[in-house]
């Protein structure tokens, strides 16, 4: 096994057993977010594609974490080469409790970034191509940007961090990067069959199980306490205000989405409102440790509004994002990162800080979007990404996995076992 020379870890982090215990607990909560994504995305898809969506979430966690252990972790947290990329800690041994718990926590983040894509591209992307793209995201795209913003756990410091870029738990590093990858995916794939009329009007394609969507939202919210709270990497008092801010922002996101729907005279949908709460959570992720509760609430509120506007914008552009992932994670990730700069405690509305935040946001887009677009484009040419229309008719559960999520109720999809 290839094990490069371990590098010294920054002093003072994850040394107390309580810190390790807290970070492992937080990692478990972030792991549980995968269940939230699976339920939310599976429920928002038609019954005939539910197994496929959940398989993709599962694959993100399994293939993604292996890729992250082999390559991604080293690129992100290895000894930094001029602030651009790590060059050690590949296939890491993780011999100490501190190293191991840090890896587990970060690996769950990497899987989260990748799994954001699965909801956007649901119901028409082939499984094999998806898995390969997920490996590229967790092994390369996510870690490289992560190295710029967070790469200082071992030796050196990422260039964005050196500039003073603030993204405490990953509004940009995790969510925007995932959102831009999702945007690239849906652009290369194209919309689902019949999603837009010839006049360009978006046709709603209802998910098969909205209670699953709501349960997924609850589970994601629960996981977010670990996502943000665990990013302290220490069991200390900061976790308290981080958790308060996280929760307030999630609540305000829900309210913001409902306000936006009301003001736009749209029906007040549960699915969109749940998305609003997720948007609120994304919007506070960057600034949850450096913001006062009032600003956290405002960040979430505007995030909820933006999530609704973002979905409408994508529909106007004829981009088919099944769960609104680009809006919730990409656009609200941008807002959350700006908000972290605007509402930085003790340094409110500092234009210089805002400028650094904007540089980080732009860098994330300029790296993640083209890299993901190229990945999907190459995969579409080499292995094939888009499921044929016949598979859309039959549902990817059967055509990709030979399994049907609800066989008792989907007898018309069984085909007598024929492909």
């Amino acid at each position: 096994m290839l094990t490069l020379t371990p590098t010294a870890r920054a002093q003072g982090t994850l040394e107390a057993p309580a810190d390790i215990a807290w970070v492992i607990t937080a990692a478990a909560l972030v792991f549980f977010m995968q269940a939230g994504f699976a339920l939310l995305e599976g429920g928002a898809s038609r019954a005939k594609n539910s197994v496929n969506v959940i398989m993709k979430n599962y694959a993100d966690l399994c293939f993604g974490v292996i890729a992250y252990w082999m390559l991604g972790f080293g690129l992100m947290f290895g000894a930094s080469v001029a602030g651009w990329v790590g060059a050690s800690q590949f296939f890491p041994e993780l011999a100490t409790g501190a190293d191991a718990s840090f890896f587990v926590f970060q690996a769950m983040f990497a899987a989260t970034a990748a799994t954001i894509v699965s909801g956007a591209v649901a119901e028409r992307m082939r499984y094999s191509g998806y898995v390969l793209a997920s490996i590229v995201i967790t092994g390369l795209i996510y870690p490289v940007f992560g190295a710029w913003a967070w790469g200082s756990f071992y030796q050196g410091e990422g260039w964005l961090r050196q500039l003073g870029f603030v993204d405490f738990a990953g509004s940009t590093v995790v969510h925007s990067v995932g959102g831009w990858c999702a945007l690239a995916g849906i652009m290369v794939l194209g919309p689902r069959l019949g999603r837009f009329s010839t006049a360009g009007v978006a046709r709603p394609i209802a998910g098969h199980n909205l209670p699953m969507v709501a349960l997924g939202g609850f589970i994601l919210w629960l996981g977010w306490f670990g996502f943000n709270g665990g990013s302290t990497l220490a069991a200390n008092g900061d976790v308290g205000i981080i958790t308060v801010n996280t929760h307030l922002s999630g609540c305000a996101g829900f309210v913001g989405a409902q306000l936006a729907q009301r003001l736009l005279r749209q029906p007040m949908l549960m699915s969109i409102s749940v998305n609003g709460s997720i948007a609120g959570l994304v919007s506070i992720t960057a600034g949850c440790a450096t913001m006062s509760p009032g600003f956290a609430l405002f960040s979430g509120l505007l995030g909820g509004v933006l999530s609704v506007l973002g979905v409408n914008l994508l529909e106007r552009l004829r981009l088919d994002d099944v769960v609104g992932a680009v809006s919730v994670h990409g656009i609200c990730g941008v807002w959350g990162t700006l908000a972290a700069g605007l509402f930085y405690r003790g340094d409110l509305f500092d234009p210089a800080r805002l400028g650094v935040q904007a540089v980080g946001i732009l860098a994330a887009f300029l790296w993640a979007f083209p890299a993901a677009w190229l990945t999907y484009w190459l995969l579409s040419r080499i292995v094939g990404l888009r499921a044929p229309t016949l598979h859309e008719q039959r549902g990817l559960d059967f055509t990709e996995h030979d399994e049907i999520g609800y066989p008792e109720f989907q007898k018309e999809l069984t085909h007598g076992g024929r492909k």
Partner: protein, 244 residues
């Protein structure tokens, strides 16, 4: 091909009774059959159902139940169902394309039923069970598109052409489907085609319907069409699921 009129009438009565209609409505329904259908077009079951549902003020769902009930009754008590074929009907307006232009009726299509009851064929070689099942499902989907309006029908026709090409259907089949989708052509050409080709043809129809009325509605109609086709006697020889 059509069974003895009295046997079919009896089967219809059983089907109507199964719906728990009042006796007066059953009698009125049978009178409609006796006067307008039995003498000249005893095989035009789809039209009879439509006509009857209109008189009873049924919703689309109720009409579907009526059709299933009558098909099942005939399958059990009469023994055979012929896809909707209609002899010439005096006084009928010529078929119209979605753009309102009347088609010049060909010798085959001249006696066609209105656009809401697409014609399989009035003459020609014996129809395979696969064709009968395919035709029943395709006609159900087309009817749903027609209900969505002229614009949807236009979109359907255009999309069908593209999807026939994408599915690499033979040109003659694609042309026949195109004409049929406009309400002016026969699918007689397909009657003796091997069963293998029908799944691709039905998929082209589904995909075109998805483009025209949206995937959610197309999914619903495909599932309903498969369920309705299960009531056909031919479904025993060729299960509708084989087309999905």
């Amino acid at each position: 091909m059509v069974s003895e009129p009295s046997r079919r009438r009896a089967a219809l009565r059983i089907g109507l009774q199964g719906l728990h209609l009042p006796e007066s409505q059953i009698l009125a329904a049978l009178r409609l059959w006796d006067e307008d259908y039995a003498p000249t077009r005893p095989a035009a079951l789809a039209e009879y159902v439509k006509d009857l549902a209109l008189r009873l003020g049924y919703s689309i769902e109720e009409r579907h139940q009526l059709r299933v009930a009558l098909y099942v009754a005939i399958a059990r008590h009469d023994g055979r169902i012929v896809p909707a074929t209609s002899p010439p009907m005096p006084g009928r307006a010529p078929l119209r394309a979605p753009n309102g232009v009347a088609h010049a009726a060909s010798p085959v299509t001249a006696p066609a039923a209105p656009a809401t009851a697409p014609v399989a064929t009035s003459r020609g070689p014996a129809k395979s069970p696969a064709f009968v099942v395919f035709f029943a499902m395709a006609a159900d989907i087309l009817k749903a598109v027609q209900r969505a309006g002229v614009a949807a029908q236009d979109d359907f026709t255009q999309a069908l052409e593209q999807h026939c090409s994408a599915q690499r259907l033979p040109v003659d089949v694609a042309v026949a489907l195109g004409r049929w989708s406009r309400g002016g052509g026969s699918l007689a050409l397909l009657a003796t085609h091997p069963a293998d080709g029908f799944a691709a043809a039905l998929h082209a129809i589904y995909a075109a319907a998805a483009e025209a009325v949206g995937p959610a509605e197309a999914d619903r109609q495909l599932a309903r069409a498969a369920t309705a086709a299960e009531a056909l006697p031919e479904a025993e020889a060729f299960a509708p699921h084989r087309l999905l």
